[in-house]
């Protein structure tokens, strides 16, 4: 039941935050902070209660009993739909990331939102609830439901509280995600029908659908449905074009959530569903998927360099980094998969920080155009130092989390496809070009002496410091994260035979 409570905490918290606005406009953010904090505390307590040896167990494919937590309640038994939620190490990792970045998002929006703050925080919390659901759901129907739940509040966040071109960006985001989600729904239904034909009963449960012997063509097209939904969300080249617009136009908290967690749902989906459900079809797709990842790395980095909008630059850097995830997932060996998981976490933190920085700049200067910045280090050395830190994190400086991720992906990839790894290493160079260019344009150069600008305050600095420490920890001692993910990755690899 505890997993349901976790999601309910966020959903109900959203409702309360919405209504709290009637009492006082400053109240919703406290409610939001409290409910995300409560959810995080709750997660910590339920995890602390689990026996320690549980974490090294390899989760079995047949049923959820060997998972850390598993819950299955009948919901619509007539169609074999159940309320099936389960948590293993991977889900736990991503849940923790989600809730932590949820706190960051609330902090980022603390003084930014004037219009209907209650509804804003409600949407924020509902998005978080949707994401948590996505990371926990094992019933494919429920998974799809949460997939939509996280989409709509995010659409509202962009459409209502976004910047100047928000309507276009929100619509683009919605259409891309919705259209690809539809393909996934079709694929889910087809898969369930196949299950009915072979098992004699209709079920949407992950465990019932795993290892279903499928006809090659059916498997291929069904897999493509999942693959498209997840790669649009990831996003992979060439489905990424919604992302720069959505990230740029979203309010700061929205960008933080989008870049930090929503993108990771795509990677999670590929890892949890797309590849294990269709190992053979995925094997056929792997070269193409890796090519897409590679194209994303190079293309995202090139376009990031060309941008003059701070947020747009960071958005394209995300496209580039997500390419590493795609490469890692389809290289499908322990090193590369660990790298991909690590990249999810590290990129979540570093990009969230950069978006928070962009939001702070926008709030102070009322522009995101870097050609109108320059020399900000003079007025805001703390912001400059933060920007420098996260820029070098993003270019993969060893000692920070992103490096661990990239080197693991490259190591794993090199064992499978040395030439692809060689091209991917180009990303190391291009990342340096755009990250340093960003710092140069915004923070270095001749300062405008007329400009008055507040530096980061205590609240912002505390958030930044927490994220810096997190990246340092991930970069210097990533073992806890790796240990948490390892049994899950072993089990997933076991599902698809020896490898792709």
């Amino acid at each position: 039941m505890s997993l349901v409570v976790l999601i309910l905490l966020l959903l109900v918290g959203g409702l309360v935050a919405w209504q709290a606005e009637r009492l006082d406009t400053g109240l919703p953010r406290w409610v939001a902070l409290a409910s995300v904090g409560a959810a995080l505390l709750y997660l910590v307590t339920i995890v602390a209660r689990l026996p320690a040896e549980h974490f090294s167990l390899v989760p079995e494919a047949q049923d959820g009993t060997t998972w850390l937590l598993h819950l299955k309640l009948a919901w619509i038994p007539r169609f074999g739909i159940a309320l099936e939620l389960a948590m293993d190490g991977l889900s736990l990792l991503l849940l923790a990331l989600t809730l932590l970045l949820g706190l960051v998002a609330v902090a980022a929006s603390w003084s930014e939102i004037d219009f209907k703050p209650g509804l804003f925080q409600a949407n924020l919390l509902w998005t978080l609830a949707g994401v948590c659901g996505v990371f926990l759901a094992l019933d494919l129907f429920l998974f799809f439901l949460f997939w939509e739940v996280m989409l709509i509040p995010m659409y509202l966040l962009i459409a209502i509280w976004g910047h100047e071109n928000r309507a276009y960006a929100a619509m683009k985001f919605f259409i891309f995600t919705q259209a690809s989600g539809l393909l996934m729904l079709l694929a889910i239904v087809v898969l369930a029908w196949q299950g009915l034909a072979q098992n004699g009963s209709l079920s949407f449960s992950y465990f019932d659908l795993l290892g279903l012997p499928l006809d090659g063509r059916v498997a291929w097209w069904t897999m493509l449905g999942f693959f498209l939904a997840f790669t649009v969300k990831l996003p992979a080249f060439p489905f990424h074009t919604w992302l720069p617009d959505a990230h740029t136009q979203a309010p700061t908290a929205g960008s933080v959530l989008l870049a930090g967690i929503l993108l990771k749902t795509g990677a999670y989906g590929l890892l949890r569903f797309c590849i294990p459900l269709f190992p053979e079809a995925s094997m056929h797709l792997a070269p193409a998927a890796m090519a897409l990842g590679l194209a994303g790395i190079v293309y995202g980095a090139l376009l990031a360099f060309a941008q003059s909008d701070f947020k747009r630059l960071v958005a394209y850097s995300s496209v580039s980094h997500m390419g590493f995830i795609l490469l890692g997932l389809y290289a499908w060996n322990s090193l590369a998969l660990q790298g991909a998981v690590m990249q999810m976490v590290a990129h979540g933190v570093s990009t969230a920080a950069l978006f928070m920085l962009a939001g702070a700049l926008q709030q102070r200067l009322h522009t995101r155009d870097m050609t109108r910045m320059g020399g900000l280090w003079h007025q805001a050395p703390r912001m400059g130092a933060c920007a420098m830190f996260f820029a070098v994190a993003s270019l993969g400086l060893p000692g920070l989390g992103n490096f661990v991720a990239e080197i693991l992906v490259l190591l794993g990839l090199f064992a499978v496809q040395p030439w692809l790894a060689a091209i991917a290493a180009l990303g190391l160079i291009t990342a340096a070009i755009y990250a340093l260019w960003m710092v140069q344009q915004a923070f270095q150069g001749t300062p405008d002496e007329q400009r008055r600008m507040e530096d980061f305050g205590v609240r912002e600095m505390a958030t930044m410091a927490a994220m810096m420490l997190a990246l340092l920890w991930l970069g210097l001692y990533p073992q806890p994260v790796l240990d948490l993910a390892q049994p899950v990755l072993d089990s997933l690899q076991g599902l698809s035979g020896s490898g792709l």
Binding site: F305, A306, Q307, V392, L397, L476
Partner: protein, 611 residues
């Protein structure tokens, strides 16, 4: 054992504290922490060295396992042997002197704390680089020093040119680093470990000498070394890197970081010995670089750029030594070069400091009497750089030239090239001395250097002279080599050439028997001078071949070409919308008619299908 891990930790801690203080720390405290931490680190190195003198075996210390995924288990662990110890001594010793010097040099700068934070971070990273027991940790130090180099070149961030130089330094070295990272991937995939000693042992077992894989792996590592050590073709960043404060140039871009490539090759010499082809490439790269940079240094007018090109040239000598498998000589030259080049940079910094930030040597002159301490430091440094007999540079360079001669086949060519380089070195280093310190004064110094500047100069002077007599504890790591088979004529030639260079410089720039200005005035001389002055136009070449196209491509793509496809879809659906919209015209009768005909159609179909 504690002294091992304290060595990098102390500067790191100091850097962290200075960074966290965000400039609110009083200058004296920042200076104390900045210089003191490096001084303490130097003491730690001395303690380690003493324990070495007793035992002699390499010491290892594992702090923790960095990450463990399957067979990939890099540790945060240190490996200290003679080679490491030499590097550590240079880094902390010369580093401490430069920190001391910086206190006076940077005292009036508004970002004093930030300066020392970066410098301490650099020392910590550099120590990590040389102490790492595996290549991944070495890579962490490698990138760390790159970052600090970037931060310090762009230290005075208000001038966009400094930022440009800093980014150029980072990106150009990053090209080499990417190659090196690939080398790491290859080595791990093939040998199953990145720990340097077991890796070299495994390589010796698995790979025959001259096989493809070691050549490929070492070539990739060489890419990293070439980038970091500013060798052809990735040397272009170093002259621009002079935009940073002068002590930074002394520490990072002369004494320590730029020689990391030499250290890397020496450290992995076990691999390079399996790849004679790569070693030969190292030698040729060194030779070409040393000549190219020496010619360029001849015509520069900026005092720091002359020194920068001379650094490139001297590292060329080190590469030459490595290429002919004279690893110990390469490291020996690395050490003496660290002494005399730090000395030269610090002396140049003192000149610049006392001359209102003047960089052009032709606007200096006559400083011999006005800044005597600086003058003598500069003379000693230049003498060591030119390898005049009895200076430290002489011993190390001589060893390199003799080893080059002994190389079978191409040896004499390498030797001759190195000799030409030595001649040029003599000319350009004394050109510098004669132009800056003799002749009439063109700018008056407005202050005298204090003791914090004078003391490091004095110590480095002493080291530049006696450094050649140090016996380095490298005997267990690299095989000893004597130069018994070398003819005496060769030895005499190596000895006499720098003196010849000094003489030519004297003729050209002090006595002015032959006025170089007249040659430069001729059209051919003009274009040759221009060609050398701009570093053989390699920068222009890269701008035209790489930077320009990159910028053009990104500018062309900046508005997301992929969106054209989706915009096409949008246009298509808009078009369809307009077409269908025409049917929805709001006229009731039209709708009724549509309904009627639809009904008729339905009836017709039903009747047709009726049995």
């Amino acid at each position: 054992m504690a002294s091992i891990w304290l060595t990098p930790f102390l500067p790191l801690l100091s850097a962290a504290l200075l960074l966290v203080s965000m400039g609110r720390m009083p200058r004296s405290l920042a200076a104390l922490m900045g210089a003191g931490s490096v001084g303490l680190a130097a003491v730690c190195v001395a303690v380690t060295a003493r324990s070495f003198a007793g035992g002699g075996d390499a010491q290892e210390l594992t702090l923790w396992t960095w990450m463990a995924v399957g067979d990939f288990v890099p540790r945060i662990a240190f490996y200290v042997d003679g080679l490491t110890l030499v590097m550590m001594s240079v880094i902390t010793g010369v580093g401490f002197l430069i920190h001391l010097y910086s206190i006076e040099f940077m005292w009036e700068d508004e970002s004093f704390c930030r300066y020392f934070a970066y410098m301490n971070l650099f020392v910590a990273s550099m120590l990590l680089l040389v102490m790492a027991d595996n290549l991944l940790l070495l890579y962490m130090g490698w990138e760390g020093v790159g970052l600090c180099s970037y931060l310090l070149i762009g230290f005075w961030y208000r001038d966009p040119a400094n930022g440009r130089a800093a980014r150029k330094a980072f990106v150009v070295t990053r090209v080499g680093d990417a190659a090196m990272a690939l080398g790491l991937l290859l080595l791990f995939t093939e040998l199953g470990t990145l720990e340097i000693q077991p890796m070299m042992a495994a390589a010796r077992e698995q790979w025959p000498v001259g096989a493809t894989l070691p050549v490929l792996a070492t070539a990739l590592l060489l890419g990293g070394a070439v980038g970091k050590s500013a060798q052809l073709p990735l040397h272009t960043w170093l002259p621009d890197a002079m935009a940073g404060p002068t002590p930074v140039s002394a520490l990072i871009h002369a004494a320590t970081m730029v020689t990391a490539g030499v250290y890397l090759i020496a450290r992995t010499s076990g691999l390079f010995l399996l790849a004679p082809a790569t070693l030969e490439a190292v030698a040729w790269i060194g030779l070409l670089t040393l000549l190219l940079a020496a010619f360029t240094a001849l015509v520069q007018t900026d005092i720091k750029r002359i020194l920068a090109y001379s650094t490139i040239s001297q590292i060329g000598y080190m590469f030459l030594a490595l290429g002919v498998s004279a690893f110990a000589s390469g490291i020996f030259h690395l050490m003496t070069h660290a002494f005399f080049k730090a000395l030269l940079f610090l002396a140049a910094g003192a000149v610049i400091h006392c001359l209102h930030h003047e960089h052009d040597i032709f606007r200096m002159g006559g400083l011999r009497t006005r800044l005597p301490v600086v003058f003598w430091s500069f003379v000693i440094g230049a003498a060591a750089l030119a390898a005049l007999p009895l200076t430290s540079g002489f011993y190390s360079k001589d060893a390199i030239l003799l080893s080059a001669w002994e190389m079978p086949g191409i040896g004499p060519w390498l030797w001759a090239g190195g000799l030409l380089g030595a001649l040029l070195t003599g000319i350009y280093s004394f050109r510098l001395v004669f132009v800056v310190f003799f002749g009439e004064a063109r700018t008056e110094p407005d202050r005298r250097p204090g003791w914090k500047i004078a003391l490091p100069l004095a110590v480095l002077c002493a080291l530049s002279v006696v450094g050649g007599w140090f016996a380095l504890p490298l005997g267990q790591i690299f095989p000893e080599r004597g130069h018994a088979g070398v003819p005496h004529a060769v030895e005499y030639a190596s000895m006499a050439t720098p003196l010849l260079g000094l003489f030519i410089a004297w003729l050209l720039f002090l006595r002015r028997r032959i006025d170089p200005a007249r040659f430069v005035a001729s059209p051919a001389g003009q274009s040759l001078r221009d060609f050398w002055f701009r570093g053989w136009r390699i920068d222009s070449l890269y701008d035209a071949l790489l930077v320009g196209p990159f910028k053009a491509l990104t500018h062309w793509w900046r508005n997301e070409p992929v969106d054209a496809f989706y915009n096409g879809l949008v246009a298509l659906s808009r078009w369809g919308h307009r077409g269908l919209n025409a049917l929805q015209n709001g006229e009731l009768r039209w709708y009724a008619t549509g309904t009627a005909f639809g009904l008729l159609l339905l009836l017709a179909v039903m009747l047709r299908n009726a049995p």
